[in-house]
Every structure is written in C-alpha cells, then in structure tokens.
C-alpha cells in the first residue's frame, strides 16, 4: 500500500513586515495534514487564509520557516519528483509572445517527451480544455478564462500522478467551471490524486472526497465535505405564483415577500409539506422549492467569531 501522496508536518511560514522588516506576520501556522493517493482533496478557506501559501510552499516557490513536507514519498526538494506532479498557479500568466501550442510544447520538453509524443499530447490537451481553435494564437490575446485553461492543460500534459490546482475555477464562466469539474473527475477516474484550493463551497461539495478548512493560517478541520459544513439547515425557500382578483393574500402567504404575482416564502423543514399543501389548496402555483444552505462565508464568519479570542495569537510579533 503506497504512502500518502502529500504529507505535511508542522508547516509554518512567517513573512517579515514593518518598516525595517523586523515584525513578522505568520501566514501559516503549524499545518499538519495528509492527502491520500487517488483522492480528490479540497483545500477550503476564505481569501488570505493560507491556501495559496501552502501550495507555494509545496512547489518550492517560497520556503518554509519551519516544518517539512513530502510529495509522493519524496522530500519537496527533490526536483526529479516534479516529473510526476502537475501544478496550476493562481491567476496564471504565461509568456505572452508564445502561442498555446508553443507553450505546451515548451513545457513538455522539460518532461523529456519525444517530439512525436509531444505533438500528440499538445493537440490532445488543447482539445481537452477547449482551446483547439485558439492553439495558434499568441497568449497575449487570450482572455483570463483561456489562460486558466492553458494553465490546466500544462498541468496535466505529462500525465502526472498528482495534480495541484490553485483556485482552478477562478476567472471561468459557468461552462468553463463545468469543464474543469469534468476534468477533475476524469483525473480521479484515472486514479490520480488531485489537490485543489477554492473558496467556493459547492465546487468542493460536488468534487471532493475530503476537504481541509483553513482560516487565519490555521487548520480548522479535515474530513468529508458534508461533515465539515454539517450545520443545521436553515430551512427551505418556496417560490410560487399567486394571482387573485382581490388583493387579499391567503394566510399561508402572510409572511411572504412579494413582487407582482411572485411570492417568496421561507419555512422550516418540519412544516414544508404542510405549507405546500396549503399553497396548493389556495390555488398558488409552485415554481421552485430550494434548500437554504449556509454559504461558506457565513460558515467561516461563524468560525472566526468563535475563535476571536485566539485571533491575537495568529500574529506573532518580534520573533
């Protein structure tokens, strides 16, 4: 049984700040976690929580103040290990004087793919990320979304065992996000390990086997998505149509918000079916019934508020 795909032990990163750079800001505090091979692992947290910092530490773009990490059983300083990993940076930017095909070919060379295989893979990847027709256009003409796709392509071009994606959905329209989701699922089917960071909860919920939640540089929990955000449901929202000659509302719609003939009503889970029956009897037409879920922001604000007493400890000064 192979070991974890990623092992992180007490990883810490301090940044010097202040006028003479004597103060330090701790952007990552003693992170310890593991990513198992073959799973899709989500790294969740609000902006500035330390997700990107962790990933950059893994990729050796920055160096840790303390702690260690191993990828695929090898220390992160092992350059050879990079043959088996793919990385999509946050808000990627590539050489704008190259075309997508040229960029992918350039990166493929580092993986020592022979010329024929390179050509094949590059064409394959461009098709996979939906850039077939734009392959010969210089990257300087690409939109943010297109750059994101190129970034994804270069991350999986060489068939790596582990794929690390930093905010892969950012800058993409809904179609693009769907495509990225599809690719991640495909990677999982191929038995690859995927680590990606995001602050969009629905993405994590649909894709991840496990997630880790980071707030303020600290790990606040690792587990299945449902477990983490297993907060009590806030109820159900019903959208319905009701028209009557006299402007009298039926009792059931007493507390509803109205715009024209549309009514928006919130009820708790327990009284959902009773309410629906009442509406049906009153002659209202049900349009939608949606579960109200907490947003990740609300959840995190909840977390932060709960940890406010410890917030002061996040900043370590004078060390």
């Amino acid at each position: 049984m192979p070991g974890p795909a990623i092992e992180i032990e007490n990883l810490t990163k301090d940044y010097p700040t202040g006028f003479l750079e004597t103060k330090k800001v701790r952007s990552l505090d003693g992170l310890t976690m593991q990513v198992q091979p073959g799973e899709v692992f989500g790294f969740l947290g609000p902006n500035g929580a330390g997700k990107s910092t962790t990933i950059k530490l893994l990729m050796r773009i920055i160096f840790p103040t303390a702690g260690t990490a191993r990828i695929l059983g090898k220390p992160i300083s092992d350059i050879g290990m990079h043959r088996d990993i793919g990385y999509l940076p946050e808000q990627p930017y590539f050489y704008d004087y190259l075309t997508a095909a040229e960029l992918l070919d350039y990166f493929a060379r580092f993986h020592e793919l022979p010329a024929a295989l390179r050509r094949e893979r590059v064409a394959q990847m461009l098709k996979r990320v939906g850039l077939e027709t734009a392959g010969k256009i210089q990257l300087r003409k690409y939109s943010k979304g297109m750059l994101q796709r190129v970034g994804l392509a270069q991350a999986i071009l060489h068939d790596p065992k582990l794929v690390v994606l930093d905010e892969p959905m950012s800058g993409l329209d809904p179609i693009g996000r769907r495509e990225v989701r599809d690719i991640i699922l495909e990677l999982k089917q191929q038995g690859k390990t995927v680590l990606f960071s995001t602050h969009i909860l629905p993405d994590a919920e649909t894709l991840c086997d496990r997630v880790a939640v980071i707030v303020g540089g600290k790990l606040h929990g690792v587990g299945k998505p449902g477990e983490i955000v297993g907060v009590r449901s806030q109820g159900v929202e019903i959208l319905c149509d009701y028209a009557s000659e006299d402007n009298v509302r039926p009792a059931v719609l007493a507390g509803a918000a109205q715009s024209g003939s549309h009514y928006r009503l919130q009820v708790s889970d327990e009284v959902l079916y009773v309410t629906l029956e009442q509406l049906w009897k009153a002659g209202a037409r049900i349009v939608t019934v949606t579960q109200i879920k907490p947003t990740l922001e609300e959840y995190f604000m909840h977390l932060v508020a709960a940890n406010r007493a410890q917030a002061a400890a996040v900043e370590v000064s004078g060390k």
Binding site: I61, G80, P92, Y95, L98, G151, Q154
Partner: protein
C-alpha cells in the same frame, strides 16, 4: 543539463519575438550613411573612421541590450509570475538561471556577429580591398561580445536581489568603473593616504576590468591583436562570468518569490 538548453532556446526566441534584432536595421542604416559620407570627413582615414564608428555602435547598442534585457531576464519572470509553472517542472532554479543567461548570450552573439559582418562589408566598400590586418576587426567584435556576456552576468546577479531600476544603475555603474581600473591602479595623489591608495589598487584587481577588451585603437589603425590576448580575455570573461553567475544562483535559489 538539457533543461538549460531548453530554457536558453526559449529565451532566445523571446528576444527575437520582442523584435530586439530590429536594432540591426538601425545599425545597417548607420553604416550605410557612414559609408556614403565618410569620404567627406577626411581623406586617407576612411577605414579608421568606419572601424571606430562601427565598433562604437556595436558596443553601445550591445550594451543597451545587455543591460536592459539582462536585468529583465529574471525580474520579468518574477514580476509576471511566468516562473511559477516552470518551478513545478523537473528543472532546478540554477538550471533555469543558466538557461536564461545562455539565451541572452546567444542572442547577443547573433546580433554582434551580424553587425560585425556588416562592418566588414562596409569597410570593403570604402577601402575597395581588405588586408589581413582587417581581420583584427572581427577580433575586436569578439571582444565586445565577451564584454557583453560579462555585463549580462552582472545584470543577472543584481536583478536577483534588487529592483530592476537599481539593477540597471548598479550594472551600468560597474561597467563604467571597470573602464577606469588601470587608473585606480596607478593613482598617485598627495591628497590620498597610502592605505587608501593600496586599497584602491587591491579593489582594482577585483573589479571587472572592461579595459581588457578595448582594442579599438589598435584595430582602427590596422594593427593586429595578439592571439595570446584573445585567449586570456576569453579565459578572464569565462572565469568572471562563472563567479558572478554562481553568486546569482546562490541568491536566487534561496529567494522567496511573491
């Protein structure tokens, strides 16, 4: 090792696509104008004027490219973060740096060679025939390239730890200082203390001596350049570049990017 070549080739491609080589057009015009008007400046020294003008232009244009592109080699990659994806590839930071250096050195080699060829052509046109001593012009052009390679190495080093503007200033400053190394060595002044004078003398050996590569006077007047000097200068440039790039590698390998 191959990775160095891959990065170098891409760096060369970037320079070409950035239209850096268009400076050759400017140089060509300059040389043509010189060829046409040199007769009116002075009879009898057409060759001298063409050679000194040509070598000056090759050197100045080359220096501008070496300093500005040299500083941008690493700073642009760090600024624009184009470097990030590459760091995740199986290529180490030192290989990347060497590749960048190699790419610009190659660009400058192509550039200088083209200009040298144009200079020889114009010289032929103006003098109507070439002598063996005119081969000295090519040696002078080669020395200019050696000098440019050293400037690129310095620019690379400074851009690894200071802002682009400071890197440009430091590199330019070292270049100018390197032209007065011999004066530092022979300074005799009543106002300066003995200690300071010997300090200056010591420093003069450590600074990059760009005067070594200056053979314009000899070549412009048709005198040859000793082969031994060519060998020594090549060794000097190679050794100094190696030291500077080594320092750059050490600094860059430890540097936290944005």
């Amino acid at each position: 090792m191959k990775c160095i070549g891959i990065v170098a080739w891409n760096t060369f491609r970037e320079a070409v696509r950035d239209r850096v080589l268009y400076n050759l057009v400017l140089f060509a015009f300059l040389m043509m104008a010189a060829a046409i008007f040199v007769g009116q400046i002075s009879i009898g020294i057409e060759g001298t004027v063409i050679v000194s003008l040509g070598l000056t232009a090759i050197s100045v244009i080359g220096l501008l490219i070496a300093v500005f592109l040299g500083v941008g080699l690493v700073s642009k990659e760090m600024d624009k973060r184009t470097l990030y994806a590459i760091l995740a590839k199986p290529v180490s930071r030192w290989q990347f740096l060497l590749g960048k250096f190699g790419g610009l050195a190659l660009t400058l080699a192509v550039n200088t060679l083209a200009m040298g060829a144009a200079l020889i052509l114009v010289l032929l046109y103006v003098k109507h025939s070439l002598q063996a001593s005119d081969a000295g012009v090519l040696v002078a052009v080669y020395f200019i390239w050696l000098k440019l390679a050293l400037v690129v190495a310095l620019a690379l080093l400074f851009s690894c730890f200071t802002s682009p503007l400071l890197a440009i200033l430091f590199t330019a400053g070292l270049y100018v200082a390197g032209l007065f190394v011999e004066d530092m060595r022979t300074v005799h002044s009543a106002q300066m203390s003995e200690v300071f004078q010997s300090f200056l003398r010591g420093v003069s050996y450590l600074l990059p001596n760009f005067q070594n590569f200056d053979v314009m006077g000899e070549v412009a007047h048709g005198r040859g350049v000793p082969f031994a000097l060519a060998l020594q200068n090549t060794a000097y440039a190679a050794l100094y570049c190696a030291m500077v790039i080594f320092a750059a590698i050490v600094i860059f390998s430890r540097r936290n990017l944005k």
